[in-house]
């Protein structure tokens, strides 16, 4: 087994013991990227020199015998290209930010650097995080390592594919309606959407501010927990950041791995599953429930009657916020400027026309419509009320269960091109993940096996109340340990040219 196949926690231990250097680990992953990323296209930018310099610093500290900067010091990571980085471009998958070098680091970026984590590069994504396939990236799609003709999910398909292709053991994503969890599900990896406000949004280029949340991605639950504790926590630079300690998710993951869930109530959401879900996804979910029961959990059924309106509410609230947030791309202060026309307004319109892709334009127009006078009450206002009802559904369900579960996505990875011209079909991928974003609660996706009909990965979604990540990680780790013991790791086939 080579270095690239190790988990982040294994790598960190070997780096600290001096068994392998952080520079060797960084090089092995950079070599892997050079070998396979021409096919996978997980990365938009690889920062070779900065990565090696950062790793060398960790090696110096190890040699000097000083305490590691964090439990993940020297471990490589792939960063979604929506977090600002002063030493690398930040494009958000958009032409309007082609080559843009931000003048400051996102808080997530700063915390990764302070933790001694080696940032390998920036990963591909649907433009401004709008999409479920990465096909809406202006720089071309990422391919799923499980089958290069298929999508790796989105918007964080680059981060998930980098993990599945062993280009990095850790990654960062952002989740506005499922952009961490759905890619994790379709690539057989782990992805966590923390409680809203749990990870700073400072320097995270906004899609929909009331929904966006950064979070950890990894190949194991423990690795995700270790990363969660590095990036999580209060940040005075984000006024929506929660001023409370980060939940003890590493401890919870270790406890969960011992495999005992007795006394825990796991709620199955009646409205998330059944019709519209692929048969192999349903079968994998049913098997997951049996496994959780075997681990001692009590399975209870819960009903969240307003979840069926979640997608409709989401696709009004999100475009409304998008239409406002993306007004900042005005061709005046940074980013692209197309100097067609004499007035500022003409230049703005020409620049935004040239710089934004079709999905972004659709959502800006839709949001402008939903917010316009005469329609506001029927659309945006009503969607906000449905949002309240969805939060109440969660509250009622969490009174009956410690965590809720569902399939993460209704299908396994679909083929590139299959849904790209049918926006509504694309939106349906986030059916099961959207409610948590609307309510601000926590959610994660853990591999639950392969679908019988196509041999592609399926994810189990676990949801927990706001700041209830510890119990979520505990259940995720217990499920993972039990599944691994019976079925082994889900490993994508070797990428071939």
């Amino acid at each position: 087994m080579s270095v690239i196949h190790l988990t982040a926690s294994e790598l960190a231990a070997k780096i600290q013991s001096g068994e392998v250097s952080a520079v060797e680990v960084a090089r092995a992953h950079l070599d892997r990227i050079a070998e396979v990323d021409g096919e996978v296209h997980a990365f938009l930018h690889v920062g070779t020199e900065a990565a090696l310099a950062s790793a060398a610093l960790v090696d110096e500290q190890v040699e000097a015998g000083s305490a590691p900067a964090s439990p993940l010091a020297g471990v490589p990571l792939a960063l979604k290209d929506v977090f600002t980085t002063t030493d690398m471009p930040t494009t958000c998958g958009s032409k309007i930010l082609d080559g843009w070098r931000p003048p400051y680091d996102a808080t997530v970026t700063s915390r990764l650097r302070a933790a001694g984590i080696t940032i390998l590069g920036k990963t591909n994504m649907d433009e401004f995080a709008m999409g479920s396939s990465t096909e809406h990236s202006a720089y071309g799609p990422t391919r799923n390592p499980w089958d290069l003709s298929r999508i790796p999910g989105g918007s964080g398909g680059g981060s998930a594919a980098a993990l599945a292709a062993f280009e990095a053991p850790l990654a960062i994503g952002t989740d506005t309606g499922g952009s961490i969890r759905q890619p994790a599900a379709v690539t057989g990896t782990v992805g966590v959407k923390p409680t809203y406000g749990g990870v700073s949004r400072y320097g995270l280029v906004a899609c929909a501010s009331s929904l966006d949340q950064g979070g950890p991605c990894a190949r194991t639950v423990l690795d995700a927990a270790l990363l969660h504790e590095v990036i999580g926590g209060y940040d005075p630079l984000d006024s929506t950041s929660i001023d409370q300690p980060v939940p003890s998710v590493v401890e919870a993951a270790r406890l969960g791995a011992q495999g005992d869930l007795s006394g825990l109530r796991v709620g199955v959401v009646r409205e998330l599953g059944g019709e519209g879900y692929q048969s192999g996804v349903r079968a994998s979910f049913d098997a997951a429930l049996q496994r959780l029961e075997k681990l001692g959990a009590e399975i209870v059924e819960v009903s969240c009657p307003h979840f069926e309106y979640g997608m409709a509410a989401y696709y009004l609230i999100l475009p409304s916020e998008v239409s406002s947030n993306l007004a900042r791309f005005d061709a005046m202060r940074y980013g692209l400027r197309v100097s067609r026309g004499a007035s500022a307004e003409e230049v703005m319109a020409a620049t935004r026309e040239a710089g934004f892709g079709p999905e972004v334009k659709r959502r800006i127009i839709l949001g402008t419509y939903a917010l316009s006078s005469g329609y506001y009450d029927a659309y945006y206002g009503q969607a906000q009320k449905v949002r309240t009802l969805i939060s109440r559904d969660f509250a009622a369900a969490f009174a009956k269960a410690d965590v809720l579960v569902s399939p993460t996505a209704p299908t396994t990875a679909f083929r590139i091109g299959e849904k790209v011209d049918d926006p509504l079909a694309m939106y349906l991928n986030d059916l099961a993940t959207i409610p948590t974003n609307l309510a601000g609660v926590a959610g994660m996706s853990v591999p639950s096996g392969l679908a019988e009909e196509d041999g592609l990965p399926v994810g189990l979604q676990i949801m927990a109340p706001a700041l209830g990540e510890a119990v979520m990680y505990r259940v995720g780790a217990a499920f993972e340990a039990s599944r691994l013991a019976d079925e082994g790791a889900l490993t994508a086939p070797e990428v071939t040219r």
Binding site: R101, P102, P103, Y104, Y196, G197, S210, P236, S239, T240, Y309, M311, A312, A313, Y315, L316, A331, M332, R333, Y334, G335, L336, R337, A342, S343, A344, E345, E346, V347, M348, A349, R352, E353, P358, K361, R362, I364, I365, L366, T368, Y369, S372, Y375, A378, Y379, G381, Q382, A383, Q384, K385, V386, T388, L389, S391, P423, L424, L438, G440, V441, A466
Partner: protein
């Protein structure tokens, strides 16, 4: 309530695009009008929910005003702030004319 399909016209999309400062092409207008019509038909379902007495949620985490101490702290330098500007002159953003557009 404009719930049924056919609720958004090509002209309306053109108007919205103008408001959004998007110089969309004729071909895009045709495509978007059809697609937005389908999307609106789906999202209009929120109207089916009886919610007259339900308060709206704009934000999942209830927050009061968040203040910070009024202390000096480092910000971006002028050079950093202008580093990504499409055009800059004399330490300022250089922009196309914004007045007299009717002239």
């Amino acid at each position: 309530m404009p719930a049924e399909s056919g609720s958004i016209s090509r002209d309306e999309v053109a108007h919205l695009a103008r408001l959004s400062r998007l110089a969309v092409t004729d071909q895009e207008l045709d495509t978007f009008a059809g697609q937005l019509d389908v999307i609106l038909g789906a999202v209009a379902r929120v109207g089916e929910v009886a919610a007259d007495d339900i308060p709206p949620t704009s934000h999942a985490v209830p927050l009061e005003n968040v203040f910070r101490p009024d202390e000096l702290r480092p910000g971006l330098t002028q050079e950093q702030a202008l580093s990504g500007a499409p055009a800059a002159e004399d330490g300022r953003f250089r922009v196309p004319r914004i007045l007299g557009e009717e002239a």
